[in-house]
Symmetry: C2
Subunit: 329 residues, 2 copies
């Protein structure tokens, strides 16, 4: 990715790890005036970077803002496409809404829409999603695979595996996947995924993968009514998580697993998904639009459809439902 | 449908069939002043209606504009939902683009977006579509069925049957359906359908059915390069077609067949579709994204997938392709 001058200055300050960086050296290397260097540093300070000028030595980066801006994410990126175009909003209604609009307007494959705070975040079935400011990862990724729409639903499961792997890499802790689109830790929701599709009948135009991860919230950040249902990576692991690094890691695995799915089919992803699932092999109750079914979740098909074996032995394919684990009495 | 005052005045003028309608009577019935009546009549004249004031007798509707506005379509409507909300544009880039935006903003089930002329009409795979001013039907219908996305592709076929039936009712002539989305007369294209989907992975948000019908064009309206490929209802039947009536008839059959599909499955629609098809039973060449296949089209599945029997007997399911009829030498 081509870096802007601001990003180049920032990357030098970061690389110096607390040592001063000479203003003259920066000016020479970037072939701009020292006044321009000073202006860029002022710009960084406005974004929350704390930069100290040490006389006759140079500039020292004292602290970096806790934001998920392009400048903060880019240094961690190892992808070819995902996140190579970043649209950052300090606050917005919903990254999913913005991404859908940008997708229609032609935003390229891999575009990331990310924010600190959503005023109208939403989950599956238009349910609301609480997105505390600066404490989570609230993002939407636009991908444009050349596939038929009937291959699109599996991307919810591809995404679930990618996020689980990223969380495992960053925190050392493993989340469980609850079909179709939740990640749990200790039985509490830590991540939701909302995958939306824009398509012609025989061609995907774009898939928009919305991801909400509770990262650095304390227990008190959650309303009392949901404290038994929701948790954050910090609550579960005891450590603050570097959000830009987590974002980059999610994008890495999302790109990797998407490519595997498109090139080799769903089989390899399915194995990973099943290994992280807390649903398969368990007795569950599935609330569908028009009925409620109970039985054992015996697997998912290559179409991502949950296979539920009822007590009379019949196997039903579940395309859409809310799932609850049950203890048979 | 609730009529506006303008629509009420117009419907009285139309009902009078060339006889004068008293301005005082209109004012009394609608409980507004004669000055207001006069203002509404001026408004209608600005839209192209020719209204003569006959002294001491009243107003006579001399001619109606050849447009597909809400006022012109509504009197023909016999639907419960489709077309009950009409958004009319004398000119626009693409009804499909407008409908997609309105759908995202929450436009209700059945909303019709219709125009006289498109500056950037488009067909399948982003191909351009020529939309001559005031001579065709260029429209998009937003529907919001409560179904899973894997049931959505069939709506292209539902729409093809609906439009064929509407054309048959209005002109007495029968078009042939060429899989997946063209209607032909005498082997030339008279209608294109572009069906687009906005969906969560397990729920349709909206299906936008874009319909382009060549209606009253003369041969010269088509570029010489496509005169052997494209035709209009007028060219084929020799008669001018009442476009608002055709629109209302398309909406009627689209609503009827959509309801049958949602309630009873694809089987009954499939039978109709096959009876109008010029593809089934024929030898065809199918150009896919990465290969070209030749064989006999033996039917469609309940998923709307074309079944192609290759010469070695293998049957391939075709989700997306351009189809050409071939004569085996």
């Amino acid at each position: 990715m081509k870096m802007t001058i601001k990003e180049k200055i920032l990357s030098q300050l970061l690389a110096a790890k607390g040592e001063p960086v000479s203003g003259q050296k920066l000016a020479d290397e970037l072939n701009i005036s020292r006044t321009m260097i000073w202006k860029y540093l002022k710009g960084l300070e406005e974004e929350g970077y704390v930069i100290e000028a040490v006389k006759k030595k140079g500039y020292v980066l004292q602290s970096i803002p806790d934001v998920v801006s392009k400048e903060r994410i880019s240094p961690y990126l190892t992808t070819s496409h995902l996140g190579q175009n970043i649209m950052y909003y300090p606050i917005c209604d919903s990254t999913q809404n913005i991404a859908a609009e940008k997708a229609r307007e032609g935003a390229p494959h891999g575009t990331l829409v990310i924010t600190e705070e959503q005023t109208a975040g939403r989950g599956r079935l238009e349910r609301s999603w609480d997105s505390t400011a600066n404490k989570g990862v609230w993002m939407s990724v636009i991908i444009r695979p050349e596939i038929s729409p009937h291959l699109a639903p599996q991307f919810t499961l591809v995404s679930a595996v990618a996020i689980t792997k990223a969380i495992e890499d960053i925190t050392g802790c493993v989340a469980e996947i609850k079909w179709p689109n939740d990640l749990l830790m200790n039985g509490k929701k830590v991540t939701g995924i909302l995958t939306e599709l824009q398509a012609e009948m025989d061609r995907v135009q774009s898939i928009i993968i919305g991801i909400g991860v509770n990262v650095n919230q304390e227990v008190e950040a959650f309303d009392v009514s949901i404290q038994s249902l929701a948790t954050s990576l910090k609550i579960e692991t005891g450590s603050e998580v570097n959000r830009p690094e987590l974002v980059a890691k999610i994008l890495y695995y999302l790109e990797k697993y998407s490519n595997i799915y498109i090139e080799s089919g769903f089989e390899p992803i399915k194995l990973l998904w099943e290994s992280y699932s807390c649903t398969i092999g368990k007795r569950i109750r599935a609330s569908l639009l028009k009925e409620t079914l109970e039985g054992v979740a015996i697997g998912i098909t290559n179409e991502g459809v949950l296979q539920l074996q009822l007590d009379d032995g019949e196997i039903r394919g579940i395309y859409s439902a809310d799932i609850h684990l049950v203890n048979k009495s």
